[in-house]
């Protein structure tokens, strides 16, 4: 087990470095010279010679005078020491910049996942138990539609219905403007603004419902379920004690894999609802050509993806001792 984890970690590190080289290369292809951008403002006030000198100084300061491999090494070295660089737009270190959006994203995602699991898993179980009834079939169609409709369309529909036609939710943002709530009241206000984005996210709940349904149906078709029924156990016991526990294996894997996703912001939803999370930060930094931030965020997302993969595999192994890691 320990050997396996080490192997996977080593592999993650290799992939991470390979991708970082790739991304760094792509970012170096971007037109525009950050050093030029830095001294542009002084162009009018100083003589051309001085301007050229300032420009060269800026290049040295930003390390742009060195060859690209050296630039990569120093960039990577800084990242490993926890220095992600400097945002050219906000003029603060990227590390500080990412903090507050990260909190917002995690808050939104935690609430979302609570609702997702609280609704999705019971519905999935019910669908499996009532397979091929009207309930199941209609829910299958409904989830299919929910999965097929992109989140921005459901967002537009929900904004139109519940923020404009029947204004029960705020259209976007995170706090009621002009109302300086404090303490618990502020917290409630925060949750209130969270409601519509979460409802929109929940239109994609079909994925979980279908997954749970499939896993439980697989378990219900096993021989031990037939045995349990044959010996006269109550249907409830058969489903919840025998079948569902076995269905939990794939479901747990799914849950754990998605929980790693709480750090990653839903780009479209956050942008649409002006929720200041990491997804919106990424879009904003790309729109404002703040590539230091975008690059750091990208590395973060990649790390997250790779970690999710590893954690899911480990989780399968813990939950189901039959699975052997190699």
């Amino acid at each position: 087990m320990a050997k396996y984890i080490l192997k996977r970690l080593g592999y993650i590190i290799i992939v991470f470095f390979l991708l970082s080289i790739l991304l760094f290369g792509i970012f170096k292809m971007v037109p525009g010279d950050p050093a030029r951008l830095m001294v542009e403002g002084q162009k009018q006030s100083v003589s051309p010679e001085q301007y050229e000198m300032l420009y060269q100084q800026a290049r040295v300061r930003l390390g742009l005078d060195k060859p690209i491999p050296v630039q990569y090494l120093s960039w990577m070295g800084n990242i490993l020491q926890g220095d992600f660089g400097y945002s050219t737009v906000y003029r603060i270190p990227v590390k500080e910049l990412i903090g507050p959006p990260m909190k917002n994203t995690i808050a939104l995602n935690v609430v979302y996942y609570i609702f997702l699991f609280a609704i999705g898993i019971p519905l999935g179980i019910k669908c499996a138990v009532k397979k091929d009834t009207v309930f199941d079939t209609s829910l299958q169609v409904a989830t299919m539609i929910g999965i097929s409709i992109p989140s921005f369309i459901s967002a537009l529909i929900f904004i139109y219905l519940f923020a404009i036609k029947i204004p029960i939710f705020p259209i976007s943002g995170m706090v009621t403007t002009g109302a300086n709530f404090t303490g618990f009241r502020a917290f409630l206000d925060y949750l209130y603004h969270m409601a519509l984005p979460i409802i929109v996210c929940l239109t994609g709940i079909g994925g979980l419902i279908r997954y749970v349904r499939g896993a439980l149906l697989d378990a219900l078709s096993m021989d031990y379920v037939r045995t349990a029924r044959a010996k006269g156990l109550k249907e409830k016991t058969v489903i919840y004690k025998h079948a569902f526990r076995n269905a939990m294996i794939p479901i747990t894997g799914w849950i754990v894999g998605s929980i790693v996703g709480i750090f990653g912001g839903a780009v479209i939803i956050e942008t649409l609802f002006s929720w200041k999370g990491v997804g919106k930060l990424l879009i904003d930094s790309l729109n404002q050509h703040d590539y230091t931030v975008a690059l750091s965020m990208q590395m973060f997302y990649i790390l997250l993806g790779l970690a999710a993969n590893l954690i899911t595999d480990l989780c399968y192994c813990i939950v189901d001792p039959r699975i052997k890691l190699d």
Partner: protein
């Protein structure tokens, strides 16, 4: 099933029961029985056919923009002259999206798409004798010579200048957001948004003006002694009035960029900038013209025998004169609409009726953009899926067939690509590479990004299928015959797993369309002016658009939603048809 009961299975004799059915026929039979899947197929095929066939007849330049036609709600009411007015019309004038008419008794009627202010017709006007219509305001004069104006009321448009008090008025005209009045003694007074419309009365200070014509940019004046003078402050092409016509002009008309005049001898002369073949005056009117009027890009002439002839831009059928147009008493054209009042007082109209699904913020036809956007979204999705499948089958086939180190390496690669966060990476690649390439290059890049990042699922599927097939007899037989390995994989094994690959392809197609739309929605996909279903929604995020201009987001959303839902329903049905075991679940 949800829709209708399944038919009772036919009773077959034992012998028939033994008959074999090819797997392909079983799939088709299963599929045809699945009503949802067939419904999905029908919906998708109709949307597909609509997007690719309708634009053949129906064309609009993608770079086309028209601020006068922006944000128009769906409907065909521009030419719906009220029935009360139809038989006793005195004057009819057109604005960009509406019409205003006066009947012989002096009552004012309005129809088409009216703003709130336009509906506030002053009640105390008495008997109205003439009207003039601008972008969204109306100017009217009654039999006592009093001026009234309503509609758009900023820029001082609602204030009739005091110097007009007590003056007798000869002609009224309304431009984009500007009103122009000519008094009996030949003076011109203009007010309104003079920064948007280039009108200066200084050019005609010493002249006695008979009438003024305005378009959305400027105006020209005709003097009592038959001279034409441009009212523009800036130098425009309209200044180049041909010298030989000065003093002989009877009537004038303006299009966006050109001016036309009917001379005393009945010839028509056009000058300015030649757009939409506006200079090609039909030969049959030369020498016979008595009246002329102009819309945005077309001209209409009334000949001495009372018929109308039109030429110029015809994208809204504004230059297609109906055959009923004879015995003309009065002709008016405005924007893309035309109207003639016959000698018996009846009204014939032609031109732009409205838009099926409205227009967007730049005045572009939403219906046409949905069709074109559908072409784009489907093409991008289709090619992306082809790329995904080419890579997926190649990697999965090799990986599954050879196993061992090759398998491990390829599957690790697939795992890495699969664990890359898709949207962020696509955003960054699109932002970084996208602004260096052309519009078409950008679209190709989106296809490549979707293709090269999305093949891992298919590779895994193909690999699993190949693993299951590779030890079967037919493969062993092929090996024994000495068939090359490349051919064994791609000619013998892959065709056997093709059905499952096709199922996956349909579902991937829907996913690719969704991803493309998402990227375009965020502004990182297909770029304007080329439409895609995603980027049509890009500027519909504000609450103002969502609530007031609902047609701009509802229609693209409905089509995109219908399309992906139907593909997914079909894909799901296909999966069940191909793999009947899935039905047991």
């Amino acid at each position: 099933m949800l829709f209708g009961k399944k038919k009772e299975k036919e009773q077959r004799s034992v012998l028939e029961e033994e008959q074999m059915q090819s797997p392909f026929r079983t799939i088709i039979k299963n599929l045809l029985e699945n009503k949802l899947a067939m419904g999905g197929l029908i919906v998708f095929v109709s949307i597909f056919a609509m997007c690719f066939i309708l634009p053949i007849w129906f064309h609009q330049d993608l770079n086309y923009q028209d601020p006068t036609q922006k944000n128009i709600a769906p409907g065909f009411s521009f030419l719906s002259v009220p029935s009360d007015l139809k038989d006793n019309a005195e004057v009819i004038e057109f604005g960009p999206t509406y019409g205003v008419g006066v009947d012989k008794d002096g009552y004012v009627y309005e129809w088409g798409q009216l703003t709130k202010n336009l509906k506030k017709i002053p009640a105390d006007m008495g008997k109205v004798v003439d009207i003039a219509v601008g972008q969204d305001h109306v100017l009217a004069i009654n039999d006592k010579g009093n001026l009234y104006t309503w509609g758009f009321n900023r820029m001082g448009l609602n204030v009739i200048p005091p110097e007009l008090k007590g003056k007798k008025i000869a002609d009224i005209e309304a431009g984009y957001q500007v009103s122009v009045v000519v008094t009996e003694d030949g003076k011109v007074v203009s007010w309104g948004n003079t920064s948007a419309v280039d009108i200066s009365t200084a050019n005609v200070k010493d002249e006695k003006v008979k009438e003024v014509k305005a378009n959305i940019q400027t105006a020209i004046a005709l003097t009592k002694d038959g001279k034409v003078i441009s009212l523009a402050k800036k130098e425009t092409a309209l200044d180049n009035v041909p010298e030989e016509i000065q003093g002989k002009v009877e009537k004038i008309a303006l299009t966006d960029k050109a001016a036309a005049a009917v001379l005393k001898d009945g010839t028509v002369k056009v000058w300015g900038n030649n757009h939409d073949h506006i200079f090609s005056v039909p030969e049959e009117v030369q020498g016979k013209a008595v009246d002329i009027s102009g819309g945005r890009n077309h001209l209409v002439v009334v000949t001495e025998d009372g018929n109308a002839v039109a030429w110029g831009g015809n994208e809204n059928k504004q230059a297609t004169v109906p055959t009923k147009a004879s015995n003309i008493a009065k002709l008016t054209s405005g924007y893309y609409q035309n109207c003639i009042i016959k000698e018996d007082g009846s009204v014939v109209t032609w031109g732009l009726k409205g838009y099926l699904l409205g227009t967007d913020n730049l005045g572009r036809n939403v219906f046409y953009r949905i069709l074109k956007g559908g072409q784009m979204t489907m093409t991008v999705g289709f090619i992306a899926v082809i790329i995904q499948f080419a890579i997926g089958i190649l990697v999965g086939g090799i990986s599954g067939y050879y196993g061992g180190t090759v398998d491990i390496l390829l599957m690790r690669l697939s795992e890495v690509v699969g664990s890359l966060p898709f949207i962020p990476l696509a955003l960054i690649l699109s932002a970084l590479i996208g602004n260096k390439v052309s519009d078409v290059g950008r679209i190709i890049m989106i296809m490549l990004i979707l293709g090269f990042l999305g093949w891992t699922g298919i590779a895994g599927l193909v690999r699993a299928q190949v693993l299951a097939e590779r030890n079967k007899e037919f493969v062993v037989a092929a090996k024994a015959l000495g068939v090359r390995e490349k051919n064994i994989i791609f000619r013998h094994i892959v065709p056997n797993v093709m059905t499952i690959i096709i199922v996956q392809a349909t579902i991937s197609f829907a996913t690719c369309m969704l991803t493309e739309s998402g990227l375009s929605f965020l502004g990182f996909g297909v770029a304007e002016p080329i439409p895609s279903w995603g980027n049509m929604l890009n500027n519909c995020r504000s609450s103002e658009v969502i609530s007031q201009y609902w047609w701009r987001w509802v229609f693209p959303s409905v089509v995109l939603g219908l399309c992906t839902v139907s593909i997914n329903l079909f894909g799901d049905g296909l999966r069940r048809a191909v793999d009947p075991k899935a039905n047991e679940r």
